[in-house]
């Protein structure tokens, strides 16, 4: 299998560049961007969703912060969190206290869970001179209620970003930002669609780093990178192998080590869909580019059928439906539920999702990881057994 997945040189160079970006915890490219754009702001944002268009419109660079992976030794972060709190906040604090996030002028903490919510307070106490914004995404999806509240929040956030950056964006700038991110999300959708149809051309170990690089790059550069990859991947000569097609869920916030993704592939899985990094892919449709830009961003949050544990589902019938539809549309043969240890949203949601899968007669397996998980053998064995069982006893 390895030989079939070995990328041509151009793809290898592209993915190597992505891996370098991800591995550089000092955010060298962000520092370089700052140096090249004096006076502009750099704003960090945490999972799982923030309207990056506002930062872009204010002339700034939005940088996604998802922890430090497995490379950073956590000392000060562990002094801030008990052992039963997930790993992401401790590595984010470690990054902050060790000066690796000094290039950021501020941070946005979305309402993903209690841990990220409280991290916003820790950040305020730890970095009193930095701009901090808690983004309370509405759980009421009525435009006259949640919509009005969210619009007010976006206006406030934009006003503060303008004060920070000294830039006063016009409607045209906001529409321009929406266009740039729409183009990026379209490219990502095309990438995901290609992987769902021909996963042998687009191994998830490549797709994942390519997508994740978008946390760190200017959006236009990232879009160009994806488009280049798509061109190269489509031209690739590779044959399908008898892998099990699986969808992966649970990894929307704290990210697994890249080695874990590779392990799933080595275990005989084509990951044909995943929920990695919704912060880059939401909303999974174009935001309106013609009307009032803030209203368009509000509508994008309220009206899109986004499924994530942090978002309230209004009735039992909705629960797991997006996942089931995705399994069907991507022809996935099973679901791997991989959640970070101590991730309340993912783990509280898991019984509901697994129940929905059971009712839809979709097979699944579950395990937990942390961003610094080093031991892959048990995961390889579990995923391999799951893939084998699909191949041996699946309906196909």
């Amino acid at each position: 299998m390895e030989s079939r997945l070995t990328p041509p040189t151009a793809i290898g160079a592209l993915t190597a560049r992505c891996e370098e970006l991800i591995a550089d915890l000092d955010l060298g490219n962000v520092r370089a961007w700052r140096a090249a754009h004096p006076g502009r702001v750099v704003i960090g944002y945490l999972p799982i969703y923030a309207p990056r268009e506002l930062v872009h419109a204010a002339g700034g660079l939005a940088v996604g912060i998802v922890g430090a992976g497995e490379e950073l030794e956590i000392v000060r972060g562990d002094a801030c969190f008990q052992s039963y709190i997930c790993h992401l906040p401790r590595s984010v604090i470690e990054l902050g206290l060790s000066g690796k996030l000094d290039s950021l002028d501020g941070m946005i903490f979305p309402s993903t869970c209690d841990v990220i919510r409280n991290l916003s307070g820790i950040w305020s106490l730890s970095f009193p001179k930095k701009w901090v914004r808690y983004l309370d995404l509405p759980q009421n999806f009525d435009a006259s209620m949640g919509g009005v509240f969210y619009r007010g929040m976006l206006e406030g956030m934009l006003r503060e970003l303008c004060e920070l950056s000294g830039v006063d964006p016009k409607q045209a700038d906001l529409r321009g930002a929406i266009r740039a991110f729409n183009a990026n999300r379209r490219a990502l959708r095309e990438l995901y669609a290609l992987r769902a149809t021909e996963p042998w051309l687009t191994p998830t170990s490549e797709v994942y780093v390519l997508v994740r690089a978008g946390l760190l790059l200017p959006v236009e550069e990232h879009t160009a990178m994806i488009e280049r990859y798509l061109g190269l991947a489509k031209a690739r000569e590779a044959r399908p192998v008898d892998n099990a097609r699986v969808a992966l869920r649970g990894a929307f916030c704290e990210q697994p080590p890249i080695e874990l993704v590779k392990t799933l592939e080595r275990a005989g899985c084509y990951v044909v869909d995943d929920d990695f990094l919704p912060m880059l892919r939401w909303p999974e449709r174009d935001v309106d580019e013609s009307g009032d830009p803030l209203d368009a961003l509000v509508a994008a949050w309220l009206d899109t059928p986004l499924e994530a544990p942090s978002r309230y589902t209004r009735c039992n019938a909705e629960k797991g439906q997006v996942l089931i539809d995705t399994v069907r549309s991507t022809r996935a043969e099973g679901v791997i539920f991989a959640a970070p240890s101590f991730c309340d949203p993912a783990l509280l949601d898991r019984p509901l999702l697994l129940g929905a899968l059971d009712r839809a007669k979709i097979v699944h397996t579950s395990f937990k990881y942390a961003e610094n998980t080093g031991q892959m053998q048990p995961i390889r064995e579990q995923a391999g057994t799951f893939a084998d069982s699909i191949k041996l006893w699946g309906e196909a």
Partner: protein, 426 residues
């Protein structure tokens, strides 16, 4: 520890109120009462009562089951059903109780909900909890999104958002579930009674500023908040309970007495503490004993503010019924950002002349626990007092290690004694 437990008369009164409420719930089907499950922080008790709905608080069931040593088996049942060992044990205790027949803590069967009233205040887990219950009961659910006090105060936008939801979502859902029309005058009557009881609760909590303190504001405090934080706010019974409680405490102040513990009057108060975090319920008496045996009395706590920060001036207001309900929801302790929590606790340390500050960090609750180590250091820095940190859980007996907790507490009290001796010498 003695087997016969000494109780204050107000405790017995409260016990009767609670058992009466559970009996009403058990008979709900035959009496035709409708039932709403809801949570303590941000609860809308007066509004539910205005529709004659009986409230059920799943986290109260869980803690009652914890105190009655039933929670371990319920948690195990939920874990056998696929719930992760990592998540909130209140949720698992509740799910486990439901899986095993939904027999409530008093041994009577709990009615299924006519409505799940999800007031999403200060705790993300609430949302998942009610999604899980909704699947189990397949009943009507209504969500009231209460924004977080990220900016350290209640904004007009947040209040307007909650009021509009109350008016256009919550009240219609209650009307539908109860079959009764909304009567704002009736709501005002309940709110007026709430404010009366709230005055007395604040008086009781603030009585701990006396030396010796006539109350323990944590272990005793959880009893004192009971009626107001649960099914009785707005009722005449709650007003009477707080009047009786106030008289008891007044009498102790006049006699220079300390609080009543399960083993009798606490006489020697060597340490005055402020405590952050919920108590452990599975070993409640044993945990309390570790304090009063050492002469430690808790003079203020954050846990007694999860159902409202009345001591900071908030009162339910019959003249602004929905606005004051919105402000109540927005103002509960776990809906405060961390800097505000630190400010509050620092004020408590100063206002109540505390000797120390203790965090009881519970594994189950990220809303409380995440950030407590940072808060501890910040409070130490700002008060100059040493803090202590212990770890237990809410209702999972596996996470209460008596020897570890006792060791830490004893070391902490020794350290406070030594610091005091050093201060006297110098």
């Amino acid at each position: 520890m003695t087997n016969s437990v000494v109780k204050e008369p107000s405790m017995l009164l409260q016990k009767d109120m609670i058992s009466g409420h559970y009996s009403k719930l058990a008979r709900a089907e035959e009496t035709g009462n409708t039932v709403a499950y809801t949570f303590v922080p941000g609860n809308l008790t007066e509004l539910m009562l205005a529709f004659d709905m009986l409230p059920v608080h799943p986290e109260i069931n869980a803690l009652q089951n914890g105190m009655r040593k039933l929670s371990g088996e319920y948690i195990a049942e939920a874990e056998r059903a696929g719930h992760s060992e990592d998540v909130c044990t209140y949720v698992k205790c509740d799910i486990g109780m439901s899986l095993k027949g939904n027999i409530g803590p008093t041994g009577e069967k709990m009615p299924p909900p006519n409505l799940l009233l999800l007031s999403y205040t200060g705790c993300f887990t609430f949302m998942k909890w009610f999604e899980l219950l909704r699947e189990r009961y397949d009943c009507a659910t209504t969500m009231l999104h209460v924004p977080y006090q990220a900016e350290g105060h209640i904004t007009k936008d947040a209040r307007d958002y909650v009021v509009k939801q109350l008016r256009e979502v919550t009240i219609p859902a209650l009307e539908k579930a109860s079959g009764k029309r909304y009567d704002e005058d009736r709501l005002r009557e309940y709110l007026a009674r709430s404010a009366k009881a709230e005055d007395d609760l604040v008086w009781v909590l603030e009585s701990a500023k006396h030396t010796p303190s006539p109350i323990d504001a944590y272990f005793g405090g959880v009893y004192y908040i009971g009626p107001l934080f649960t099914a009785f706010r707005g009722t005449e019974a709650a007003v009477e309970y707080y009047q009786a409680l106030r008289k008891e405490v007044q009498s102790r102040i006049e006699n220079g007495e300390g609080p009543l513990t399960p083993e009798g009057q606490m006489r020697d108060q060597r340490f005055r503490l402020v405590v952050e975090g919920p108590p452990n319920w599975t070993h409640f008496r044993e945990f309390w004993k570790m304090f009063y045996d050492e002469g430690a009395v808790v003079v203020a706590s954050s846990y007694t503010k999860v159902g409202g920060l009345y001591d900071r001036g908030f009162r339910h207001d019959p003249d602004r019924p929905l606005e004051s309900l919105a402000e109540y929801c927005l103002g509960c302790y776990t809906n405060l950002n961390l800097p505000s929590r630190v400010d509050l606790l620092v004020d408590y340390v100063n206002d109540y002349q505390a000797d120390g500050f203790l965090v009881n960090s519970v594994k189950s609750c990220d809303s409380f626990s995440s950030g407590q180590l940072v808060m501890l250091r910040e409070i130490e820095k700002r008060t100059g007092l040493p803090g202590a940190f212990i770890e237990t859980d809410l209702v999972d007996p596996r996470y209460f290690s008596a020897a570890n907790v006792r060791n830490r507490l004893e070391s902490y009290f020794q350290m406070l004694s030594q610091k005091r001796a050093t201060a006297v010498t110098s």
